[in-house]
Subunit: 265 residues, 2 copies
């Protein structure tokens, strides 16, 4: 059957996939996997192949982007083919083009969703989902960070939280740290002087969301600067207005200082 | 072990849980499940109990909210206890209080994430994740809908998409339909006259996200008014500025009229 199924691998390791996703793999002829749009720190391919009882072909960014996914599309034109993607398959927009190209070729496409860093970070923090504004990615210091700064500013003006994904370069195993993210934002602050990112700004650093040992720490930036978050991946929340139940959550789940209670009453 | 683990059931049916979630259930003493914060249309409890090889206790909103989750907390104070929640456990903020109460009692809490409607709808649409603003819920007609209208207005002003969750009353099996959501928003439009929700506004209706047969339809509201979306649950996207690749995605995945191409170039 001409079919291309995009399956989300979820977070962290080979057990992040859903039962539904696993069943789909078992009935497919070709199973591809990409590992470059997100980091799954504890993913063990050998064990995953054993769980699926299938041989899985890892594909590179080059195959997918420079060759327009030709290998996958050719496979899907004859038999049921799967592309495994970390997280939820289309939260990184990278694969939307491949899905459009498949549909244009008359290949039926489907999605089996996976857990996403987007909802995981919100869930872990205990902050209210409907109080998050636009999401941003904070880039490595070599790229200007004016856009994230502006998005945070805009969200704060509306009282909204900003979920900041921190950039990563998967092949080089390079991760923007939470401290580097602050530095990058502070550089823009120095130019703009809007007092959006100061030493007394509250932030929530998140390490290893979706793993068995996630770590959250909420505090003023001045106290987070030297905090050891341990191993990657990292993300960051810059909260807008906090409801008192959100403050309670940050104290309970993110070790926020109790003085937060006084600030938000 | 004093432990309370919140596990996301994901979407639609008993196969939406992750392998990790299933493993956790197998080693727990008490397994509770709530089914009122979200609708899983094809969930079969008997089959799920067979998959888990565990007896599962369904709990009501009353047990959780009026009795402050006492039954669950008491169980978790002696043995490993699980609360199964549709979607990702804390996207509905309902259970944050229970988690705080558990931590205050010295009960260790953990989260096993599930797939969430939040990322599923974004994924299905092919729209860019970082272009979504604040999310809203559109209420039943008996409740004023000024807030959702204002959020959509604010998001549009910033060029951002709005993900609208449509209200449901699970025990009564009552779902706000996409047409009712338009009517509700149009009532506010008539008062405010901001031309945010007109016959020529573009919208994307989504039915059964996360199921095997999701349906998306993008069109002007005037053409969606009589469109048959089939069975619930429903959601709605009111897009802001559309990038041409997003238009291509809407044509490929949401049967958008080709004239959209002319509008966004």
């Amino acid at each position: 059957m001409k079919e291309l199924v995009f399956i989300g691998l979820g977070l962290n390791d080979e057990y992040g996939i859903t039962l539904k996703g696993l069943e789909e793999i078992k009935t497919a002829t070709n199973v591809f996997m990409e590992t470059y749009t997100s980091h799954m720190p504890n993913f063990n391919m050998q064990n995953f192949e054993k769980i699926c009882n299938k041989k899985i072909q890892t594909i590179t960014r080059q195959t997918l982007e420079e060759e327009n996914g030709k290998q996958i599309l050719t496979a899907a034109e004859t038999d049921k083919t799967i592309l495994l993607v970390p997280g939820d398959p289309f939260i990184a927009t990278t694969h939307v083009t491949l899905r459009i190209d498949a549909e244009k070729l008359g290949i039926h496409t489907r999605i089996i969703h996976g857990t996403s860093i987007m909802s995981a970070i919100v869930s872990l923090s205990g902050l209210h989902n409907y109080k998050f504004g636009k999401t941003v990615t904070i880039p490595f210091p070599e790229t200007p960070a004016e856009t994230p700064y502006n998005v945070i500013t805009q969200n704060k003006k509306s009282g909204l939280h900003t979920l900041c994904l921190l950039d990563l370069k998967e092949p080089e195993n390079r991760y923007l740290t939470i401290n580097q993210a602050f530095e990058t934002l502070q550089t823009v602050e120095m130019q703009k002087q809007k007092k959006i990112i100061t030493q007394n700004t509250i932030a929530i650093g998140v390490a290893r969301a979706g793993s068995n040992y996630p770590l959250l720490k909420a505090d003023f930036i001045k106290n987070l600067d030297n905090f050891d978050f341990g191993a990657p991946p990292y993300s960051l929340i810059l909260p807008g207005d906090l409801h008192f139940t959100e403050v309670d959550a940050l104290i309970a789940f993110a070790d926020a200082p109790v003085e937060f209670k006084r600030l938000f009453r």
